[in-house]
C-alpha cells in the first residue's frame, strides 16, 4: 500500500497532538512536520512556569527527538513555511525547499498581537510567546530592572509575575478597567488586582499605551492621557492573532481564523487546519483544551474515518500564578435575561466566587482566591447538569455529597489532563500496563496532572477505581460526627465564617459532637479567626478548662513558664513557698527545663497561680510548651551563638499560642546540640556566623531528626523563619498531628516552598495572622483572677447538708 504524504506546518502543541491522534489510526501517511522554532514540541502553557523559575526549559518538553524518529516522522526544525500552492500541492520553506503533499495540515497557531503604537520596534521591546522569547526575558530580567508589561490578560499577568519573581520591578499596564476582562467581571478583576498588588506587581488600569519611549532603546511607555511610566524593557502581551496567511495563500475560506466545519474540514478537501489558527462556528480559541478535542476529530476525518464531530469547547481559563488562584469558565455575564448570579465573597480572605445560572443550569463560573471546586463546576458546565435540587449547595457541597465526578461513566477518549492532552484511556492503560499505584507514578509515566494541576482530583479518582493497590494520600474524615477531612473543614469554617464549635456541629455535623471532634473544632475556630472566635469551654478537654494537667487521681499538675529554662532565686523561692503552703505532694524537674508541681486540687489552682506570680507554661495543652536552651555564649566555652537569649525571645514570641499538637522547641549555641534542638518540633542551631533552623524533630513515641528548613545569618532571621513555620503548621496540620508527621506528610520541600521560600505576600499573610492571634492571646492563668464561669475552679457545696 502506498502511503500518502502528510505535511504538517507547525510543530506546536496543536499540530503534534493531532499527529499523535492520527498515529492511533491505521498507518496511512508519511509524515513531515515543519517547525519554525528550533525546539521539539514543548508545553507552551508552562512557559510562564519557566519564566518564574518553577520549571527548567527541558522539563516542559512534550515529545523527544526519539519520539519523532520512532514514528518515522521527518522533523524539519527551524524552517518557516512561507508559501502554499494548493493546485500543485506543494509548500515552500524560507530555506527555498519545496515539499509536495497529498494532505496538508496547517497548525500555525497564533502570533502576539502588537497594538498600534509608536516605537514597538525598539530594542528592549519583547513579546512572550515561545521558548526563545522566554529565554530572552530570563536573560533580560534582573533584580531592580524596571519591566512594563502591556496587557493585563492571562499571559500578561503570568509574564509579570515571572519577571517579578526574577527580581524585576514590574508594572502591568492594561487598556480596560479590569484585569482579565474576558474571564472576570469587575468584582473578580478587583480581587485579582489586589492579589497582584499584594505580590508586589503594580497595576495601572485604563491606560492606553500610545508609544514606547526611548532613543532607539525602550526607556518607558507613554499613555494617551499624557502620563507615562519608566521602563528598562517592555513586554507586549496584548492578545494573539491567528496565523492565517498560509490559509489565505492556499485559497481557503478565512475570517478571523481559517474556517473549519464540525469535521475539522476547511474549504479545500486536502487541506486541514487545527488549533489556534482555526475558526470554528465563529470562535477562535486561544486555550489548550480545544486543541485536543479538535485534533481527535481531525484525525478521524483525515484518515478516512469521518464521523466524529467537533462541537466547540467550553472556554475555561486558569491563571497559573502560584498563590493567585483564578479560574473562569463559560459565560459569566449577568445581562442575559433569565440569568441568576450566585455570589460569595470575602475581602479579608480575597475569595470571590460567582456562578451564573440560567434555566436551572450553570452558565458560567468565576473563582478567585479558591479554585478548589473548579472541577465540579466544569463538570456541571460540560454535562449541563440540572442544578435545581442542588440550589442550596451551589457554592459549597452539602455533607456527604462530594463524591466528585463519576469517572466510570467517562469515555476513554475523554481528555483528563488538558495541559498535556492525556485521556482517560491513556491513564487507565498506564495503570494496567505499568502497575501504577500512586499519583506520583502516574505523573512520571503519563505527564497527567503535571501542568496546572486542576485534574489531580480526577486522576486520583481514576487511580482509586482502577489501580489494584492504590495508595491514597490518605484523607481521613475528622470523625463520624463531622464527616469531612480537616482541610475541607477549615475551608468550610473559613468561608462560612463559622466561629463556634456548636455552630459547626449543628450545620455540618450531627449536632452533638464527641471528645474527638470537639477539641479539634475548638482549635480550628481559634486558629482560623486568630482568637476572635466564640470560645466554648464545654468543647474543650478538662485541661483547657482549668489550665492544668489532670492526673490519674483527678488532681492537677502546675508548670509555670520558665522561658528558656532560665529562672532566678526569687522565682525558685516562690515555687518552694507554694509547694509548702499547698502541701504539694511532688515537686519535679521536667525534661523541658521546668518545674512541675504535682497533685494540686482544682480549687487551689487560682491561688497557687497568684502566689507563683508566673505565667502558665501551657504544659497541659496542645500549645507552645517551651524552648529548651543551652548556656549559649554567656558562660559556655564553645558557644558561638547566644542561644539562651534567642531561645527566650522565641518562647516570648510564641507563648500562649495554641497549636495542633504540643510544640516543643530548642535553641543551641553550637552544633554540640546540648539542648537537643535537632529532635524538637522547631530547633535553631547556632554555628559560626549563621543559624540553622530545623523542623519536624521528635524524641518521644517516635524519634526523628529534624529537617533543615533554612540556614540564615542573623538571629532575627532565624526567629522569623521559625515563626513562619510555626504559623504554617498551625494553619495546615490536622489536629493532633505533631510536626514530625506533618513535615513528613507535606515533604520538607513543600514546607520550604510554602514558608521561607514562599512569595512575599504569602509570608506576610502568615505573619499577619500570627501577629493577630498573638495579640489576642493571653496568659491562660489570668483566668484565676477573672474566671470565665463562677464555678470554673470552685467546688460546689450543696445548698442542703445531709448526713451520710
Amino acid at each position: 500500500m502506498t502511503m500518502e504524504k502528510l505535511v504538517v506546518v507547525g510543530n506546536g502543541m496543536a499540530g503534534v497532538a493531532c499527529v499523535e491522534q492520527i498515529l492511533k489510526h491505521a498507518p496511512k501517511f508519511e509524515i513531515t512536520i515543519f517547525g519554525d522554532e528550533t525546539h521539539v514540541n514543548y508545553n507552551r502553557i508552562l512557559l510562564s512556569s519557566v519564566l518564574a523559575g518553577e520549571k527548567a526549559a527541558d522539563e516542559i518538553r512534550l515529545n523527544s527527538l526519539e519520539w519523532y524518529q520512532s514514528h518515522g516522522i521527518e522533523l524539519r526544525l527551524g524552517v518557516r513555511i512561507t508559501d502554499v500552492d494548493a493546485e500543485r500541492k506543494t509548500v515552500t520553506g524560507d530555506d527555498s525547499s519545496v515539499t509536495s503533499f497529498d494532505k496538508l495540515l496547517i497548525a500555525t497557531g497564533s502570533t502576539p498581537l502588537i497594538p498600534p503604537m509608536e516605537g514597538t520596534k525598539k530594542e528592549g521591546v519583547f513579546v512572550f510567546r515561545n521558548l526563545d522569547d522566554t529565554r530572552v526575558l530570563l536573560d533580560r530580567a534582573a533584580p531592580g530592572k524596571k519591566a512594563v508589561v502591556i496587557g493585563g490578560g492571562l499571559l500578561g499577568l503570568e509574564a509579570a509575575r515571572g519577571l517579578q519573581v526574577q527580581g524585576c520591578d514590574v508594572t502591568v499596564v492594561h487598556l480596560m478597567d479590569t484585569l482579565m476582562e474576558r474571564q472576570l467581571d469587575l468584582t473578580g478583576g478587583g480581587y485579582l488586582k489586589a492579589k497582584m498588588e499584594c505580590l508586589g506587581v503594580k497595576v495601572l488600569l485604563e491606560r492606553n499605551a500610545t508609544a514606547i519611549l526611548g532613543n532607539g532603546k525602550a526607556a518607558g511607555v507613554a499613555f494617551k492621557d499624557g502620563s507615562g511610566v519608566e521602563a528598562d524593557f517592555v513586554v507586549i502581551a496584548a492578545g494573539i492573532r491567528p496565523n492565517v496567511e498560509l490559509g489565505r495563500k492556499a485559497g481557503l475560506q478565512v475570517n478571523r481564523g481559517i474556517v473549519v466545519n464540525d469535521f475539522m474540514e476547511t474549504s479545500d478537501p486536502d487541506v486541514f487546519a487545527v488549533g489556534e489558527c482555526v475558526e470554528h462556528n465563529g470562535t477562535c480559541y486561544g486555550l489548550v483544551a480545544p486543541l485536543f478535542e479538535q485534533g481527535k476529530v481531525l484525525a478521524a476525518t483525515i484518515t478516512g474515518n469521518r464521523g466524529p464531530v467537533y462541537s466547540g469547547t467550553i472556554q475555561a481559563a486558569k491563571l497559573k500564578i502560584m498563590g493567585v488562584d483564578v479560574f473562569s469558565a463559560g459565560n459569566f455575564s449577568e445581562k442575559v435575561p433569565g440569568t441568576d448570579a450566585v455570589r460569595y465573597e470575602d475581602p479579608a480572605l480575597g475569595v470571590y466566587k460567582k456562578l451564573t445560572v440560567r434555566d436551572g443550569k450553570l452558565a458560567g463560573v468565576i473563582l478567585v482566591g479558591d479554585t478548589s471546586d473548579s472541577h465540579r463546576y466544569m463538570d456541571w458546565l460540560r454535562a449541563s447538569t440540572d442544578l435545581t435540587a442542588m440550589r442550596r449547595q451551589l457554592l459549597f457541597p452539602g455533607p456527604a455529597d462530594d463524591a466528585g465526578l463519576d469517572v466510570a461513566a467517562m469515555a476513554d477518549s475523554k481528555v483528563i489532563c488538558g495541559c498535556n492532552g492525556v485521556t482517560k484511556g491513556t491513564i487507565i492503560q498506564a495503570i494496567h500496563e505499568k502497575g501504577i499505584n500512586t499519583l506520583a507514578q502516574l505523573k512520571d509515566c503519563t505527564r497527567a496532572s503535571t501542568g496546572c494541576g486542576s485534574c489531580t482530583v480526577v486522576c486520583q479518582q481514576l487511580l482509586k477505581a482502577v489501580a489494584p493497590e492504590f495508595q491514597e494520600e490518605a484523607k481521613k474524615n475528622l470523625c463520624k460526627c463531622v464527616p469531612f477531612p480537616e482541610d475541607k473543614l477549615r475551608e468550610i469554617l473559613r468561608s462560612q465564617r463559622l466561629r463556634s464549635v456548636q455552630e459547626v456541629l449543628e450545620i455540618y455535623g450531627n449536632g452533638v459532637g464527641c471528645e474527638v471532634c470537639k477539641p479539634a473544632l475548638s482549635y480550628m475556630v481559634d486558629m482560623l479567626w486568630c482568637g476572635d472566635h466564640d470560645e466554648d469551654r464545654s468543647a474543650r478537654f478538662i485541661n483547657d478548662r482549668v489550665h492544668a494537667n489532670i492526673q490519674k487521681d483527678g488532681t492537677f499538675s502546675v508548670v509555670p513558664r520558665i522561658r528558656g529554662g532560665v529562672t532566678s532565686a526569687r522565682e525558685l523561692r516562690r515555687i518552694a513557698d507554694v509547694a509548702e503552703k499547698y502541701k504539694v505532694p511532688m515537686v519535679k524537674i521536667t525534661g523541658s527545663q521546668r518545674i512541675d508541681l504535682l497533685g494540686v486540687k482544682k480549687a487551689d489552682l487560682p491561688q497557687i497561680w497568684a502566689d507563683l506570680g508566673m505565667p502558665s507554661g501551657q504544659a497541659y495543652t496542645k500549645g507552645v510548651r517551651m524552648v529548651k536552651t543551652c548556656v549559649g555564649t554567656d558562660f559556655c566555652r564553645f558557644g558561638v551563638q547566644d542561644s539562651t537569649k534567642a531561645g527566650i525571645e522565641l518562647e516570648r514570641r510564641l507563648e500562649n499560642m495554641y497549636t495542633p499538637h504540643k510544640l516543643k522547641m530548642g535553641a543551641v549555641g553550637c552544633p554540640r546540640n546540648c539542648a537537643e534542638a535537632t529532635v524538637k518540633d522547631i530547633g535553631i542551631i547556632g554555628q559560626e556566623g549563621s543559624w540553622q533552623v530545623v523542623v519536624g524533630g521528635a524524641a518521644g513515641k517516635k524519634v526523628r531528626k529534624a529537617d533543615l528548613l533554612i540556614t540564615v545569618e542573623s538571629t532575627e532571621e532565624a526567629l522569623q523563619a521559625a515563626t513562619l513555620f510555626f504559623q504554617y503548621y498551625r494553619e495546615n496540620a490536622n489536629f493532633l498531628e505533631r510536626t514530625y508527621d506533618f513535615v513528613e506528610r507535606k515533604g520538607i520541600e513543600t514546607v520550604r516552598r510554602e514558608t521561607v521560600y514562599a512569595p512575599l505576600a504569602i509570608q506576610q499573610g502568615l505573619r499577619e495572622r500570627l501577629r493577630k492571634s498573638k495579640r489576642i492571646s493571653r496568659d491562660a492563668w489570668l483566668e484565676g483572677d477573672a474566671p470565665r464561669h463562677p464555678t470554673q475552679f470552685v467546688q460546689i457545696e450543696p445548698l442542703e447538708k445531709v448526713q451520710a
Binding site: 460546689i796 445548698l799 445531709v802
Partner: protein
C-alpha cells in the same frame, strides 16, 4: 415507700451548658450535668480507674471520662465505650425548683439496705413524689 429524699444542690446557673460539676452530698461524690434541656446526675467516679466524670466532655447524653475516654451514659449509668462492658455507675433522679437543681437520694437508713440507685435503673422521669411534678426547662 418513702425512703428517698430530694436534696437541693445548687443554682442551675452554677453548671455551665454541656458541662458537669461535682458535688459531695451525703458521703457521695456526684457528677451533675447541664444538658440544656435537662439535668442529669451520676456517681462521680468512672468505674474504670476512678476518673472524675464531672470533668469529662459531654457528647449528647454521654460523658467521656477525662482519664481514658470511657463513655458513660448519663441516662442509664452504663458504660457505652468500650462496648459490651458490664460496668456502670449509679444514676440519680433530678428535678428543678425555682432555678435550683435537686437530686434524689436514698434516706440514710435506706442506704444501708439494698441500694435502689445502682446500675440498670432507668426511672429518669420524675414521679409524683418529687416536689415539682415535672422539670421546669
Amino acid at each position: 415507700m418513702n425512703n428517698k429524699k430530694w436534696i437541693r444542690i445548687t443554682a442551675l446557673q452554677n453548671i455551665p451548658l454541656r458541662e458537669g460539676r461535682s458535688v459531695n452530698v451525703a458521703g457521695r461524690e456526684i457528677a451533675i450535668f447541664n444538658l440544656g434541656d435537662r439535668v442529669l446526675a451520676v456517681d462521680g467516679r468512672c468505674p474504670h480507674k476512678g476518673g472524675p466524670l464531672a470533668e469529662g466532655i459531654v457528647t449528647g447524653d454521654t460523658v467521656v471520662c477525662p482519664l481514658h475516654a470511657w463513655k458513660i451514659s448519663l441516662e442509664t449509668g452504663s458504660v457505652t465505650k468500650p462496648e459490651a462492658n458490664p460496668a456502670c455507675v449509679a444514676t440519680y433522679r433530678t428535678c428543678m425548683e425555682a432555678g435550683v437543681v435537686l437530686i434524689e437520694l436514698p434516706e440514710p437508713s435506706a442506704a444501708n439496705q439494698s441500694n435502689p440507685f445502682l446500675c440498670g435503673e432507668q426511672n429518669r422521669v420524675a414521679s409524683g413524689d418529687s416536689p415539682s411534678p415535672s422539670p421546669v426547662f
